[in-house]
Each structure stands twice: as structure tokens, then as C-alpha cells.
């Protein structure tokens, strides 16, 4: 599907949670569908950690379809014949918005001089984009995983910004286990000799090996054990020359699951920047919506007039159902209109991106209601 690729330079410096501020921020974003005359049909889609603005259009690097085409499009649950969908690339990322790979004021890439950002900083940048586009109130903000964190953060920090808040497969805080997996990924990147303290831009070699390992580890957390077993079991991988798979008594990818992870890892390095991975995982680890609001999650939603819907998946062990319930209880405590459903799906955390017809019905119903 075609979209209008755009980049907008924010007019003002962006204040950050770290106390610093970021000058000359650019936001790359995609829009689908038309804004209606009273500007009341805007749906903000927030992407996940390694996602991008190409929600329903071909990725410029991989050539693959948009990451949520099953949900966003004409006649889809988020119907672009009715809504204008806006999807920005988060700051800190590498698909056009300002991040560690962007040129700093001295002309050289920021690399590790880029300030550490938070989910709330990403949301501030997004709200600045909406302001520039003249959108005062969103019909809906929706996101899965880190996109869901942004949706919740937007509701907490900009309570009048969205009429509906739809947060899927997400959490209000990163757990010790979540942080641990991210730290593993970051250390893999930093242990790669090509990382060079982050100053690899313009050189011949990027820390691809480290970034691939980070992606492999993270990818395991996105799948369920059941899903992995069903997809791969202990099956052996045929060789590229057609030789049937066998135990080689070596360290090639004998098992299909090894081959799959290596493929996922190396494919990822072609489309993602290692330093962006460091910065965005850091932002997620710092995310704790209650902490931002005096330690009480309910305080984050006090006085909010939005309708909320949370969705979890029964096989998601990265952000399990209990995390969504925690948010629901906080919303109940302040009397916010909230719906919550745990859907059955075999794919683990990644279920929000995959074929789960019940999710389509919930999303459509929530947007229509």
C-alpha cells in the first residue's frame, strides 16, 4: 500500500527526562488515509522496539510488507477508509527519526553522545509531531509491546490527547527479567570488537555479530515454547546443497531452530542500527509508569477521560497477562472505562503481529464503539 513518507523537523528543542534537551529533532512518519475536516479521525499507531513507520507499506530496506498490514488498511480492523493512520518512527531509532546515527550539531554522528531517552521522551516527540500536524485529539492511540507502553505513557502524561487507548501485549513497567534479557543483548553488542564504543559509523564494519546475537536472544522471548516446539521441534536442518540434515559433531546450525535464529539475527543487522538498539532497550528498561507518578499506578490515570482497552495473550511470557491486569486494576481504581481480554494464541508475545482473528474483532470493536 502506498503512503506518504514524510519527515518533520520539530520547531523547538525537545526536553528530555534526563534533564537534557535535544535540538533539531526530526521525526520520520507515515500516514495512511485522509484526515476528515474536523480532524477527529486520527489514529496514532505506535511501533515496537525494532518496528518502524512502515506499518502498512513496503519496508525500504527489506522489501517486506508493512509490519501490521493485517490490521491497518482499507477494510481492515483499523480501516484507512475511515481513519487517518499516523505512524511515527520513535526518536532513538534509525529509520529517519533523530537517533544515535544522526548527525549531531558538530556534523559527526551522535553515536554514544546521543542522550539516553525514555518512553516518555518518545511520546513527547510524537505529541510535538501531532501538534505540528494540527491534531489536537486522537480518535485512538494503539500499540503493541513498546507501542503499548507509548500508548499508556501518552494517556498518563497527555490525558486529553486520545479518546481511546488500546494497549496490546504490554506492561506498565519492565521487570527484572525484561531488563536482564535486554542487558544480555546490549552486552553482546558492546562485546563485539566492531562496536568501538559506538563509533563505527562510516567505517567498514558495524557490530553486526553482536547485534545479531542480541536479536537472537530477544527473538526467543517473543515466541512461546509451545510455538517453537511446534515449528521446529528437534528437527535437523538440511544443508544449502540439499544434503539431508544430520548431527555434524560440530557447531554448524544442525538444528532447524538454530538455523532460524541465525537467519533472524543476520537479517536484522541489515535493517537496524546497533546503537539504536542500545538506546531503545534502555528506554524500555527505564519504563515504570507508577514510578513516574509517585509510586502509585492509579495516579498515572487520575482525571483521564479516555476509554481504555488492554489485550494480553495467554502464551506471552515476556509481558504476561498479570501485567495487563495490573494496569486494569489501576484503571478500575480511578473509575476509568476499561476493557480487558486475554486472548488465546499459540505464538507468544509476537501474537499481536500474527494471525489472531479474535484480536482483529477486539480492535475493530473498540475503535467502532
Amino acid at each position: 500500500m502506498s503512503h506518504t513518507p514524510q519527515t518533520l523537523a520539530l520547531p523547538d528543542p525537545l526536553p528530555l527526562d534526563s534533564g537534557q534537551s535535544l535540538d533539531g529533532v526530526e521525526i520520520a512518519f507515515a500516514t495512511y488515509g485522509e484526515l476528515n475536516p474536523d480532524r477527529s479521525n486520527a489514529v496514532l499507531v505506535c511501533h515496537a522496539l525494532t518496528g518502524d513507520q512502515y506499518v502498512a507499506s513496503q519496508h525500504p530496506v527489506t522489501g517486506k510488507p508493512g509490519w501490521w498490514e493485517r490490521m491497518v488498511g482499507p477494510g481492515k480492523p483499523i480501516d484507512i477508509a475511515r481513519f487517518q493512520v499516523i505512524c511515527p518512527n520513535v526518536i532513538g531509532s534509525c529509520l529517519g527519526s533523530t537517533g544515535p546515527g544522526s548527525a549531531s550539531p558538530d556534523g559527526a554522528p551522535y553515536a554514544m553522545r546521543f542522550p539516553v531517552i525514555t518512553i516518555r521522551d518518545m511520546v513527547r516527540a510524537t505529541v510535538a509531531l501531532l501538534d505540528a500536524l494540527g491534531i489536537e485529539r486522537l480518535h485512538t492511540v494503539v500499540g503493541g509491546s513498546m507501542g503499548g507502553m507509548q500508548a499508556l505513557s501518552l494517556a498518563a502524561n497527555f490525558p486529553d490527547c486520545a479518546e481511546r487507548v488500546l494497549a496490546i501485549a504490554t506492561t506498565s513497567r519492565h521487570s527484572a527479567q525484561n531488563i536482564a534479557f535486554h542487558e544480555l543483548g546490549r552486552q553482546a553488542i558492546m562485546a563485539d570488537p566492531n562496536w568501538q564504543g559506538g563509533n563505527y559509523y562510516g567505517g567498514a564494519n558495524a557490530p553486526d555479530a553482536g547485534l545479531a546475537v542480541a536479536r537472537m536472544a530477544a527473538h526467543i522471548t517473543y515466541l512461546s515454547e509451545e510455538g517453537l516446539t511446534e515449528k521446529f521441534g528437534r528437527r535437523l536442518q538440511d544443508r544449502p546443497d540439499g544434503t539431508p540434515g544430520a548431527r555434524t559433531f560440530g557447531f554448524d546450525a544442525d538444528f532447524q531452530v538454530e538455523s532460524y535464529l541465525r537467519y533472524q539475527g543476520s537479517g536484522f543487522t541489515r535493517r537496524f542500527d546497533a546503537n539504536s538498539y542500545l538506546y531503545i532497550t534502555r528506554a524500555m528498561d527505564y519504563f515504570d509508569l507508577a514510578e513516574e507518578h509517585g509510586g502509585l499506578l492509579a495516579e498515572a490515570f487520575k482525571g483521564n477521560s479516555s476509554r481504555f482497552c488492554l489485550v494480553s495473550f495467554d502464551t506471552d511470557w515476556l509481558y504476561p497477562t498479570a501485567e495487563s491486569r495490573h494496569v486494569v486494576h489501576a484503571l478500575n481504581a480511578v473509575g476509568a472505562p476499561v476493557s480487558f481480554v486475554e486472548l488465546a494464541a499459540p505464538y507468544g508475545h509476537d501474537s499481536f503481529l500474527l494471525d489472531v482473528p479474535a484480536l482483529d474483532r477486539v480492535v475493530k470493536g473498540f475503535l467502532d464503539g
Binding site: 491486569r325 486494569v328 486494576h329 476499561v338 476493557s339 488465546a344 479474535a358 474483532r361 470493536g365 473498540f366
Partner: protein
């Protein structure tokens, strides 16, 4: 959308004041909530254990949380609602007495409906066959039924009195029609009570 409501739900719909706030505990597919919203402008919320039903409710634009009433009512502050509604669910609660108290903690008033185990057909079925009755309103065999606390009209009235709960209104139904309250514990297939704390 305009399917006829079950008679106990229709009685609740008629009684609820317009523009109030109501919590429907065990709201099923949301038929009552939708009617309360559409006909009385009620701010209705629901709790429902079945995910398929919750998805159906969300698709109707209702605010329903998937959860277990035995556990999740505790997360609602005192006096959040004008009405708490528990239709045909009391007999499935782990502790119906606690459930009743919780309903009147989160709501100023409560509507509670339940199948009457002392209905004469029940008594007859038990007396004549010597087995736990299986009926239209209690359609599942004893070993797999969710109805773990069978209750009669008299039992409920005694429980309410014991908890200091005032009965404001009572309705009785047999074969999907309202019946007069005379000898209800014998004649009513199911009952609806409006109570206040």
C-alpha cells in the same frame, strides 16, 4: 441488537434510574449492559470470565474486563457504582455471602438473581429420582456444574437478614414469566432481589 431480554434482566432494566453507574458482574455477552446504556444512558461496566464473551462486549462498544468476580471485585473502590448486578451467578461464587457483601461495597444497591433450588419441580425431581436435578436453569450434571452453592428463596432471605442487608424489591419467575410472590419458594423457578446495605 434488540433481542428480547431475559425477564429478570428486563426487570432490572426497568428499575435502574437513568444516568446512573452500574457494574454487571458476570455480564455475559453484554445484552443487559447494552440495553442500560442505550435505553437509560447508564454508564455500565462489566466483569466476565469468558474471553469470547468479553470480545463480543468490546465489539459492542462496552467496557468489560475479563476476570473472576470472586477475586477481581476487590480492585474496585467502595461506592463506585449506583448498582451492582449479579444475574444467575450467585450460586457459582466461592463464598456467596462474601460476594453479596462485596456487591454492596462497590455499589449502593445490588440486583441479585439466582435459580431457586426449592422450586417444586426440583423438589419433585430429587424426591422421585433420588438424583441431583438437571433442569433448564441448572442444565449441567452435579459433577461438572459451576453451580456449587445451590440456594433457595428462603435461604437467600435468611442470608440477607443475617448480613443486615435490606431487601428492597423481589421478583419471581417461572417458565420465563413473572409470577406473584405467593409461596414463591415453592412456585418460583428463579428469583430476583434488589437489596441495599
Amino acid at each position: 441488537m434488540a433481542e428480547p431480554l431475559r425477564p429478570d434482566l428486563a426487570a432490572i432494566l426497568e428499575r435502574v434510574e437513568p444516568g446512573t453507574r452500574a457494574l454487571d458482574v458476570g455480564c455475559g455477552d453484554g445484552a443487559l449492559m447494552a440495553a442500560l446504556r442505550d435505553q437509560k444512558g447508564v454508564d455500565a461496566r462489566g466483569i466476565e470470565i469468558d474471553g469470547g464473551c468479553v470480545a463480543a462486549c468490546v465489539a459492542r462498544g462496552l467496557s468489560v474486563v475479563q476476570g473472576d468476580a470472586d477475586r477481581d471485585l476487590a480492585f474496585y473502590p467502595d461506592g463506585t457504582f449506583d448498582y451492582a448486578i449479579l444475574s444467575q451467578t450467585l450460586q457459582t461464587a466461592a463464598r456467596p455471602d462474601h460476594m453479596l457483601s462485596e456487591l454492596l461495597r462497590v455499589g449502593r444497591r445490588a440486583f441479585v438473581s439466582f435459580p431457586n433450588f426449592a422450586y417444586w419441580r426440583m423438589r419433585w425431581a430429587l424426591a422421585s429420582s433420588g438424583r441431583m436435578p438437571v433442569t433448564r436453569h441448572l442444565p449441567v450434571s452435579w459433577y461438572e456444574t459451576a453451580n456449587i452453592h445451590h440456594v433457595t428463596v428462603k435461604d437467600f432471605e435468611e442470608l440477607a437478614a443475617g448480613l443486615g442487608i435490606a431487601v428492597e424489591n423481589r421478583w419471581f419467575f417461572t417458565r420465563e414469566r413473572e409470577i406473584a410472590p405467593r409461596q414463591a419458594n415453592w412456585r418460583a423457578e428463579y428469583a430476583l432481589f434488589e437489596v441495599s446495605g
